[in-house]
Symmetry: C2
Subunit: 360 residues, 2 copies
């Protein structure tokens, strides 16, 4: 019998078991074609149907308006740190909300590219225990765009409601895309590596408002959003199998009830884990109570490194895996993306309570 664990990895992360089982069943013969999806020409009508349905299902899930293009790219969010400035910053002027590790990596990359960067708000001085507030008037009106990281995987904060701005908002949603309902229209560009809420690492979703495509001429072909818009993500061979798996995840999500279903579930799941941490004697959450707490990533500590290690090891023995915190802040981190079952959160909460009782 297949053994399955609760895997709290920050990404790559758990995928729905039903999706993995379907992929395994279709591995050597996709729907009677006599070949695996990964053996199939990306120019075949069978594969075109797969990528078309994947895009259509994502559009349904996120209610993506017609004037937004959906791209399946490669290179992860890290390549978007360079592609977004290259493509959108025609005046080389970008504002940033600096709310964690990835936001400051994106900022650093833009600076390296010679961009005039302005930090609108930062939580770095407080070790990012909250999401920094800002007002529309803090943002430069002549900046090409404002860059935000909607969810901070390492520090466990998030913010989806931003002040209305006159300039486009570019959001790195790698770690909370599809986790709650929001309005795509509030953004000019959304990008997300797949390996948290979408599918396997190796495909990057880019959702871009049409009028932001083609602003800067003469970019390297593969780094120009226009190339991929014009060719339906097929300028060259796309990561065909990763896109197929993302499609299976989208199909599964729609069958469960779409993003509203996951938002409700994610809120319940986060509450279960946070309640266990907040009501323990030993453990403390990194993020202040309130709406800034991420639904996806929950960092917590005992304040005692040896005790943290003991916790992580004992949890492993219970089938609760990959709870070690990121090296930037240490301690533990429970990443509970869409595919983490509520039972995993309950089991973790019970384990926190038990460990607390035995070690406090």
């Amino acid at each position: 019998m297949t053994k399955r664990v609760f895997n709290f990895s920050a990404g790559p992360a758990m995928l729905p078991l039903a999706v993995l089982e379907k992929a395994a069943a279709e591995m050597t013969d996709y729907k009677g074609t006599g070949m695996s999806v990964m053996e199939m020409s990306h120019r075949s009508s069978t594969y075109q149907a797969i990528i078309d349905k994947t895009e259509a299902d994502l559009r349904k899930l996120m209610n993506i308006p017609d004037n937004y293009k959906v791209l399946f790219l490669q290179g992860g969010a890290s390549l978007q740190f360079a592609m977004a400035p290259m493509n959108l910053a025609k005046n080389k002027k970008i504002d940033f909300v600096d709310s964690g590790n990835w936001s400051s990596t994106a900022l650093k990359e833009a600076k390296k590219m010679g961009m005039d960067c302005h930090v609108v708000a930062s939580s770095q001085a407080d070790n990012n225990t909250y999401f920094p507030d800002f007002k529309a008037e803090d943002v430069r009106k002549d900046a090409d765009y404002l860059h935000v990281t909607s969810n901070n995987t390492i520090y466990g904060t998030k913010r989806m409601n931003l002040p209305k701005l006159s300039i486009p908002v570019v959001s790195d949603m790698s770690s909370n895309i599809l986790s709650e309902v929001f309005d795509v229209k509030d953004y000019g560009l959304i990008y997300a590596g797949a390996q948290k809420n979408i599918g396997p690492a190796g495909v990057t979703i880019v959702i871009i408002r049409e009028d932001l495509v083609g602003l800067v001429p003469n970019l390297p072909t593969m780094l120009d959003y226009k190339t991929h818009v014009n060719k339906g993500s097929m300028h060259n061979t796309p990561p065909t199998y990763s896109i197929y798996l993302a499609g299976l995840v989208f199909e599964h999500m729609l069958a469960q009830g779409g993003v509203p279903y996951y938002e409700k579930l994610n809120k319940e799941k986060a509450e279960i884990v946070y309640n266990a941490i907040d009501s323990s004697k030993l453990f403390k959450a990194h993020v202040k109570k309130g709406p800034d707490r991420s639904l996806m990533n929950i960092p917590f500590f005992s304040g005692n490194e040896d005790l943290d290690k003991k916790f992580i090891k004992a949890a492993e023995a219970e089938g609760l895996l990959t709870l070690k915190g990121h090296r930037n802040i240490g301690g533990m981190r429970a990443s509970i993306y869409n595919a983490m079952p509520i039972e995993g959160c309950r089991k973790l909460a019970e384990f926190i309570a038990k460990f607390d009782k035995e070690n406090a």
Copy 2:
């Protein structure tokens, strides 16, 4: 029972059935970890062991010297068309052998980037029915490197023995890497998209001589080979599952006898198909007889579009799929990469003979 066809796709292409079956069996639980490889943190020791073994096996297969780095990147050969000039052309001076569609796409990209490009030899005027010859003295001594495309997927020509040069040779080996024995030491940089002879689309192999790393400062982080060399291809999340599958292919290849085994087999396979074409009344090979004929891609025609269509349709009914030629030259193309069994080539040859008899 699983149905399997002979798939002559130019890429993505056939993979060994044993590899697909192993991947399917390990899909929901990799070696008792309770998770799929695609759910695993790339920072876990289990995944590190996978990528380390994948690299070690590739080094064994290709006999890669210690002073060469092996990288697992994203973006395909098309992104390398930009990354190679960015990283290696410190004097912005590149020589090219223009032997087909992809060589001229690489040339075009370098020109777009403002490089001083010189074509050493070209077969374009003759519709690339051979691989163009050149001598060492045709190459500029002060060029940063010479770029070649070792195998032309569309036109079906190849060349592995080049004149000895004083400048580095950069080779796009996407469509014939691992198909025959050659000396890595003859090259400064080798790159190859995985989807022909390696694994699924979405991972690009780069093999680079150490002294060519870090020649140009201040590149965008993800486009700098140095980034990936310094971080063992783990600057950000690599395409973990695609790398794992490439690893399964490498392991399978070693068990069969390595590249010498495949070289012998590929020569037999190509001979079977070419003999059928050459001895038919109806069909004509695109490439002249001789050593320029690719072992991987065999374009051929009847000279009559309707007859070509009839052939492709009738072949499909026999389980011989994806034989349609590239739109640049039309007709048929049989791509017979490492994973195409010799039985597939025999069946195609028999079908060519039968069709020839019935329609000549």
